[in-house]
C-alpha cells in the first residue's frame, strides 16, 4: 500500500516536472518575438534571396525567432504563405511580393489576425510601406541617361528603347515610364515615335531574342538609348546589339544595380540606379518592426509618397560603380555595421 502511494507520488512528480518545464518553455517561446519573412522568390535576381538572408541575420541579432517562406513569384503562394504566418504565430511579417494582385487579400488576412505587415516597394493601403519611390528612381536614372544623350547625340537619338517587364505590373510602369520621363526632362524635343519598347521580362537571356528582332526591324537606327525595368532587361538589348555588330550604337542605363558592379560589367551599360535591395530589412526593422517589438505604437504609413521608411535611390555611372562592392561583400559589410546603418549610407558614392 505504502509502496503504491510512493510510486504514485513519484509518477506525479515525474509527470509534473517535464510538464512544468514544457509550460515554462512554451511561455518563453510565446513571449519571444517572432518575425516572419516572405521573400519574393523570383529567380531573376540575386537580391531576392539576399533580402531573406539579411532579415534573418538582423532578427537573430535582436534575439527574435525567424521564419521565412518564399512566394515563388506567385500571388496565390504569397496568400497561402500569409495564412501560414498566422498559424506560425508570427508577431510581425515582412514581404516582397512582386505579384501584388494578392496584396489586398494578404492585407485582410493579416488585419484579421492583428499582425502588422511591412511591404517592400509595392504599396498596399493595409501595409507599412518600406522602399524606394520607383517612379522617382526611374526619373533619376532617365535624367542621367538624358544627360548622356544630350552630350553625345545633341538630344537627337534615333530611338529610345524600353525593355519592359510587364509581369511586375505597376512597378514596371513606374520604372520604365519614369525613365522615359527623365530622358524627356533633359531632352524634351525627342518625338514620341522615337520611343519604342519590347517585352524582355527583366531577364537578359529572355530579352535577347525580342531585342534582336527589334534591332533588325530598325536597321537605320544608329543612335539608340536603352532604358528598362532592371539591368538585366537593358543588358538583353546590349547583348543583342553586340551579336548584330551594332554594340557601338547603343547606350544603356539600368535600374537595380544588379550588373553594374564586379569584373563583368558590359562597357555599353553606362550606369544604373542602386536601391541596395538586399539591405531593405535594415529600414524595416529599424523604423517599424523593432518599435513594434518594443511595444510602441507605430502609425500605419502605407503610401509610397509618405512611407513608413524611405529607401533613397542612388544613381551611379559605371565609373562610379567601380567603388561599390558586389552584393555578397555588401551584405557582409552591412551586417558588420552598427545597427540601423543602411547600405545607402555605406555604399552610395553619390549621396545627395
Amino acid at each position: 500500500m505504502f509502496e503504491t502511494r510512493n510510486t504514485r507520488a513519484l509518477a506525479i512528480v515525474a509527470l509534473a516536472v517535464p510538464a512544468l518545464l514544457g509550460l515554462t518553455s512554451l511561455a518563453t517561446a510565446q513571449d519571444k518575438f517572432k518575425l516572419g519573412m516572405l521573400v519574393g522568390g523570383n529567380t531573376c535576381c540575386e537580391w531576392m534571396k539576399a533580402q531573406g538572408d539579411v532579415a534573418r541575420a538582423l532578427a537573430e541579432k535582436e534575439g527574435w525567432d525567424y521564419v521565412e517562406l518564399s512566394n515563388n513569384n506567385d500571388p496565390a503562394v504569397a496568400l497561402k504563405n500569409a495564412q501560414i504566418m498566422v498559424q506560425e504565430g508570427a508577431k510581425a511579417v515582412i514581404q516582397f511580393n512582386g505579384q501584388p494582385s494578392s496584396n489586398p487579400a494578404i492585407s485582410a488576412v493579416m488585419k484579421a489576425a492583428g499582425i502588422p505587415i511591412v511591404t517592400y516597394d509595392i504599396a498596399d493601403p493595409g501595409m507599412y510601406f518600406v522602399g524606394i519611390d520607383n517612379l522617382a528612381a526611374g526619373i533619376a536614372g532617365g535624367e542621367q541617361l538624358g544627360m548622356i544623350i544630350k552630350d553625345k547625340w545633341n538630344c537627337a537619338p534615333d530611338l529610345v528603347i524600353s525593355s519592359e517587364g510587364a509581369g511586375a505590373g505597376i512597378v514596371n510602369e513606374w520604372r520604365t515610364g519614369g525613365m522615359r520621363t527623365g530622358v524627356k526632362n533633359i531632352c524634351p524635343d525627342i518625338p514620341a515615335e522615337k520611343f519604342v519598347s519590347f517585352e524582355g521580362s527583366g531577364d537578359a537571356a529572355v530579352a535577347l531574342q525580342p531585342a534582336r528582332d527589334l534591332l533588325a526591324a530598325n536597321p537605320n537606327a544608329v543612335k539608340m538609348a536603352v532604358v528598362g525595368i532592371n539591368d538585366g532587361g537593358v543588358l538583353g538589348l546590349i547583348n543583342a546589339a553586340e551579336q548584330l555588330g551594332r554594340a557601338d550604337q547603343v547606350i544603356g542605363w539600368g535600374q537595380d544595380g544588379a550588373f553594374i558592379t564586379g569584373d563583368n560589367v558590359n562597357p555599353h551599360l553606362a550606369g544604373s540606379v542602386f536601391y541596395f535591395l538586399e539591405g531593405y530589412a535594415v529600414y524595416a526593422i529599424r523604423d517599424v518592426i523593432k518599435p513594434i517589438a518594443e511595444g510602441k505604437d507605430v502609425p500605419l504609413k502605407a503610401d509610397a509618397g509618405d512611407p513608413a521608411s524611405k529607401v533613397q535611390p542612388c544613381p551611379v555611372s559605371a565609373e562610379q560603380a567601380k567603388a561599390v562592392p558586389d552584393m555578397a561583400e555588401r551584405v557582409t559589410q552591412l551586417l558588420a555595421a552598427p545597427a540601423g546603418t543602411t547600405a545607402y549610407d555605406l555604399f552610395c558614392p553619390n549621396k545627395g
Partner: protein, 329 residues
C-alpha cells in the same frame, strides 16, 4: 484497234503523296516559310537585310540543336523529353564555370556535353529501372533539377572577353558562328540516322518495340543510348546558349521548350516514334525562328509570338495524329 488492252496494261495511277516520295513535308514547310518571308518582305522591303538574317540565324542555333536531341527521343519512342531546360541550364552552368577557370573552348564543350550526357543517363536510369513513363520522369526531373539549380546559383554569365563570349558574338561567312555547328549537327545526324545501324535501330525501336526486341535489340541499352545521345546534344546546345545569352538564371531556358517541341513535330518526326527525317528540322526551326522576327516587322509585339506558336503546335500535333492513324501498323 481497240483501246481496251492498252488501258488494262497501263500502270495503276500513283497517289500524289507517293509521287512526292518522302518530301511532302519539306515542300509544305518550304511553301509556308516562303509565303511568310514574301509577305513580310512585301510589307517591309527592308526585311530582306543581313540584320534580319542574323537575327533569325541566332534564334535558330540553340533551338536547332535542342530539336535534334528531342527528335532522337521522339523517333525512338520516348515521346518527348521535358527535362531539356534543366539539362541545358545545368550544362550551361558547367560551361560558365569551366570558362571562368580559364579552360579553352574545346574543353568547355567537352565538359558541357559530358554533363548533358550524364543528365540523359540519369533520366534513362529512372525510366529503365523504375519502369516509369518517360514523359512523367522527365517532367519530374525538370522540376527537381531546376529547384536544385535555384539552390546552387541565381545568375551565371560567361566572362566578358573570354573565348566562349566571342564565340557567341562572332560571324563566319556572314552568319553567326553558333549557327554553323547547328547546321552541321542536323545534317550529320540526319545522315547517321538513315545510314548507320544505330540510327536504323533507334528508329526501329520507336516504330515497333516488340518486333525490335524479337530481333534481339536490347531495349534497355537503346533507351540509355538515346537519352545519353540526346543529353549530349542538350549539353552542346548549352554551350551555344551560354555563349550568346549573357547572364542567365535557372528559369531562362524555360521559354525554349515549346519552340523545340513544335519544331520536331512540324518536321514530321513522329511523337509516336519510328518515323521522321532530321533534315526537315532545318526547315521547321528556320520557319519557327522567322515568325517572331516577322511579327516585329509587321509592327506586332514580339510577345504575340506565343499565340502563333501555340496555334502552330496544335496544328502540328493534329497533323502528327493524322499521320499516325494513316500509317500502316
Amino acid at each position: 484497234m481497240s483501246l481496251a488492252p492498252a488501258i488494262e496494261t497501263a500502270p495503276p495511277a500513283m497517289p500524289f503523296k507517293a509521287r512526292l516520295g518522302g518530301w511532302g513535308t519539306a515542300i509544305l514547310l518550304l511553301s509556308v516559310w516562303a509565303a511568310l518571308l514574301i509577305a513580310t518582305g512585301l510589307y517591309r522591303p527592308d526585311f530582306f537585310a543581313h540584320q534580319t538574317l542574323l537575327a533569325i540565324a541566332f534564334t535558330m542555333a540553340v533551338v536547332g540543336v535542342l530539336a535534334v536531341g528531342q527528335g532522337i527521343i521522339a523517333i525512338s519512342g520516348g515521346f518527348i523529353d521535358l527535362s531539356q531546360p534543366a539539362g541545358l541550364i545545368l550544362s550551361g552552368l558547367i560551361a560558365v564555370r569551366l570558362s571562368e577557370a580559364g579552360l579553352p573552348l574545346p574543353l568547355v564543350v567537352v565538359g558541357a556535353v559530358l554533363t548533358g550526357m550524364a543528365w540523359g543517363a540519369l533520366n534513362a536510369a529512372i525510366i529503365v529501372f523504375a519502369k516509369l513513363n518517360p514523359v512523367i520522369v522527365t517532367l519530374a526531373t525538370n522540376f527537381i533539377g531546376l529547384a536544385a539549380l535555384y539552390l546552387i546559383f541565381q545568375l551565371a554569365q560567361v566572362p566578358n572577353g573570354s573565348e566562349i563570349y566571342h564565340f557567341g558574338r562572332t560571324n563566319i561567312l556572314g552568319l553567326p558562328a553558333i549557327w554553323w555547328p547547328m547546321l552541321l549537327i542536323i545534317v550529320v545526324t540526319g545522315f547517321l540516322m538513315r545510314s548507320t545501324r544505330y540510327g536504323r535501330r533507334t528508329t526501329a525501336v520507336g516504330g515497333n518495340r516488340a518486333a525490335a526486341k524479337a530481333r534481339g535489340i536490347s531495349l534497355k541499352a537503346m533507351r540509355f543510348g538515346t537519352f545519353m545521345a540526346a543529353g549530349g546534344f542538350v549539353g552542346f546546345a548549352a554551350v551555344l546558349f551560354a555563349s550568346a545569352a549573357g547572364p542567365f538564371n535557372p528559369s531562362s531556358a524555360s521559354t525554349l521548350q515549346l519552340n523545340v517541341i513544335a519544331a520536331v513535330i512540324l518536321a514530321g518526326i513522329s511523337l509516336a516514334g519510328g518515323r521522321g527525317n532530321f533534315w526537315m528540322l532545318l526547315l521547321s526551326v528556320g520557319f519557327l525562328s522567322t515568325i517572331p522576327t516577322s511579327l516585329v516587322f509587321f509592327g506586332l509585339s514580339s510577345d504575340t509570338q506565343s499565340i502563333f506558336q501555340g496555334v502552330l503546335l496544335m496544328i502540328a500535333v493534329a497533323i502528327d495524329g493524322y499521320r499516325a492513324r494513316r500509317s500502316p501498323t
